[in-house]
């Protein structure tokens, strides 16, 4: 880099990388000490003058799944601001000077213009005070009680909760796998080539079937917020679950599974909201479930499917249709879960005509109005 004090610069770079790694870890990326070491080695192996190069190089070390990538990109921009790495180093030096007079050697760090100073204090503040607030404080609040500004924060918290659930589930799978038994039929067959002497044992393990989830979400006006979060939650858990098929309805049923193939859930949600003709309109649950039964249930439902319906049950259509369709659904699906966010309200009783017609055909009736209840739901998603 051709600087007067390469040693000092090197130390600053190290400090910056460590800070950057810490920030990523706070945002739930998989950054352990070994990644940090690799990040430091990487920084030594690339051209530090080239911001883009540093960015893509560190990205391959510090991310481990596609969901990490937007978080990484945004954190990188935030942490290294819009300045090339050398400048960032200077900034840390500056802030060091401000906070610790002993560290001042002041030979090459010229006083920065005012704007630069502001930036630097911001950057260090961020390191000390993570932007990310812990899940626990959010867990009990009703989703509808959050201001629009908090939405991104809840979305991140949902990811964290889903990720924790996913890890827990996969650990359980591994434990049951160990209990494997000998498969006599295959053992005999495999050993024919040895003249009938049993040499190789064929084993069978209990096959674990991931439940398939079919989600039918009410997106009428009263349900918009809750549906969004439920969708986010389920898609974040998708690795633990089998395939998630999703439909939305308010007056009419629309299949939206493919919208989620693009990877970015927020984009997908926005697109659905823009394109589904009656997003945030009225509700016709019975009719919507009927069209699901007619067109999709044969293809999508079996005894390993968990069907989740999310709606407040305030139907403007005919309740007898709803009852009939619920009965049909329950016959085909492994488990029927009805989520009603109103249930989070202590005074609520499921008296609405639609709701009382549907309830006899529901295996689990739960709320999904806050993070804690989503977390509880995660445990029921196994058939």
């Amino acid at each position: 880099m051709g600087t007067p004090r390469p040693q000092a610069r090197h130390a600053d770079l190290q400090r910056n990388i460590l800070g950057f790694c810490r920030l990523l870890r706070e945002r739930e990326l998989l950054v352990s000490p070994s990644e940090v070491i690799d990040a430091l080695r990487t920084a030594n192996a690339v051209d530090l003058g080239d911001r883009q190069e540093l960015k893509v190089a560190l990205r391959s070390v510090l991310t481990s799944k596609p969901e990490d990538i937007p978080v990484y990109d945004w954190t990188f921009e935030e942490f290294w601001r819009s300045a090339p790495p050398e400048r960032v180093e200077e900034r840390v030096e500056d802030s060091q000077v401000q906070s610790d007079p002993n560290a001042s050697q002041g030979d090459d760090s010229e006083p920065q213009p005012a704007e630069g100073d502001d930036d630097s204090s911001e950057a260090t503040e961020e390191l000390e005070m993570p932007l990310y607030s812990p899940v626990e404080t959010l867990a009990g609040r009703d989703f509808s009680a959050f201001a629009a500004d908090d939405m991104a924060e809840i979305a991140r918290a949902i990811l964290v909760v889903a990720k924790r659930l996913a890890t827990r589930e996969s650990r359980r799978y591994r434990a049951t796998r160990r209990g494997s038994a000998i498969d006599l039929r295959r053992t005999m067959r495999r050993n024919i080539k040895y003249g009938g002497t049993v040499i190789e044992l064929a084993r069978k393990a209990r096959k674990i079937r991931k439940p398939r989830i079919v989600l039918i979400c009410d997106v009428s006006r009263s349900m918009d917020t809750y549906s969004r979060f439920l969708l986010q939650f389920l898609y974040a858990m998708q690795n633990t679950l089998g395939r998630v098929e999703s439909f939305v309805f308010s007056t009419r049923l629309t299949r939206v599974t493919e919208y989620f193939h693009s990877g970015d859930i927020h984009q997908a949600l926005d697109r659905i909201a823009a394109e589904v003709p009656d997003w945030s309109g009225g509700t016709r649950i019975g009719q919507s479930l009927k069209s699901f039964n007619d067109d999709w249930s044969l293809r999508l439902l079996n005894k390993h499917t968990v069907l989740i319906i999310m709606s407040d049950g305030l139907d403007t259509g005919d309740a007898s249709v709803l009852e009939l369709e619920m009965e049909r659904l329950q016959k085909r699906a492994g488990k029927v879960i009805w989520l009603n966010p109103l249930l989070g309200n202590e005074d609520y009783r499921p008296l609405a005509r639609g709701m009382s017609a549907a309830l006899p055909h529901v295996d689990l009736f739960a709320s999904a109005h806050n993070l804690a209840s989503l977390q509880a739901l995660g445990r029921h998603l196994v058939v």
Binding site: L30, V46, D50, E53, S60, D68, S170, E258
Partner: protein
């Protein structure tokens, strides 16, 4: 950009692999830090291809381990050639070879000639230079196998009880690919550099088509890429990847098409859509809409116009679902 990275990029391009900066940088780091690379992405974005091209550009052997459910250590590492051992024993019995201890006989049948090397052992014991080891679709193997793989990838040595320990003299370059049918273990991810490959953008797709399809004219390559950019954004049962773009461009070439026109497109739609419902959705008027939209646009606007064209198609399709 570091000259080494530029060099890797041009080496990959020489093998007709159109690459970008993230890919070249990751390959460079993999060589520099000697770490395996884990590549994830949708089907058909060229994950496996990277390993092949890397081997070709390093002029070394590519050893491929295709993973599948139930793949176990023995079929990945080594097996004893049981029938051959059996035959050897029978022959010895028949020839009445005397004066040999059981121990000697045993040592004989558990020696190199009776060993069947499977991909992992071959990669470790490669005699002259570091090969490229491709562990393909690692997400299809079981978690137990993943744990075993982790062990091999950290030490690059294996112990064969009857023969002793084999240690890699030339540590292989390791490329793992995954289609994300399940989440890999943190331990394995931690061991690897991570690379996510997305569908190519318009410019990259044009370059890929031009480098893979010999003799294609620039105009047709642009139209094919533009069409594919739109199709990938339409809601479909199965989104086509790069392999489909190339197949399609080749099919069009075979029909001597030098630009997209409805008849040829409808006749060759099977090259990109592999699901009957998808074909029904796009063939006919919808395909024509896309063609005419693309035909109207200047190439430099094609890249940005794809999402809105796709949205229009989706809207037309929506009432049917």
């Amino acid at each position: 950009m570091l000259p080494q990275i530029a060099e890797i990029q041009s080496r990959l391009e020489r093998q007709h692999y159109v690459t970008d900066r993230a890919i070249a940088t990751t390959v460079y780091l993999a060589m520099e830090l000697r770490k395996p690379v884990l590549i994830e992405g949708q089907a058909g974005v060229g994950k496996t291809e990277i390993a092949k091209v890397l081997a070709a550009s390093l002029e070394t052997e590519l050893i491929r381990l295709q993973c599948y459910e139930g793949l176990d250590a023995s079929s990945a590492l080594y097996e004893w050639n049981y029938p051959k051992q059996m035959l050897h024993i029978r022959l010895q019995e028949a020839a009445h070879v005397e004066g040999r201890s059981v121990r000697q006989a045993e040592a004989e049948i558990f020696s190199e000639p009776y060993l069947l090397q499977r991909p992992l052992l071959r990669a470790i014991s490669h005699p002259d230079r570091a090969p490229v080891l491709l562990i393909d679709e690692v997400d299809r193997a079981d978690e137990e196998f993943e744990a075993f793989l982790l062990e091999v990838l950290s030490d690059f040595q294996v112990t064969i009880p009857e023969l002793g320990t084999v240690k890699a003299e030339h540590r292989p370059y390791v490329v793992l690919t995954s289609n994300r049918t399940r989440e890999l273990s943190d331990a394995l991810k931690r061991r690897c550099l991570y690379l996510w490959i997305d569908y190519p953008d318009f410019e990259k797709e044009v370059r890929i088509i031009e480098s893979k399809v010999e003799g294609i004219n620039h105009h047709l390559a642009e139209q094919v890429a533009g069409f594919m950019q739109v199709v990938r954004r339409v809601r479909l049962g199965k989104t086509p990847g790069m392999a489909e773009s190339i197949d399609w461009a080749m099919s069009l070439m075979a029909l001597h098409a030098d630009h997209l026109e409805p008849e040829a497109v409808n006749a060759t739609l099977g090259a990109i859509l592999k699901d009957r419902d998808d074909v029904n959705r796009l063939s006919g008027t919808r395909a024509e809409t896309i063609i005419s939209e693309i035909g109207r646009l200047d190439p430099k606007d094609l890249a940005t116009a794809a999402p809105s064209i796709a949205q229009r198609i989706d809207k037309e399709l929506a009432p049917r679902s």
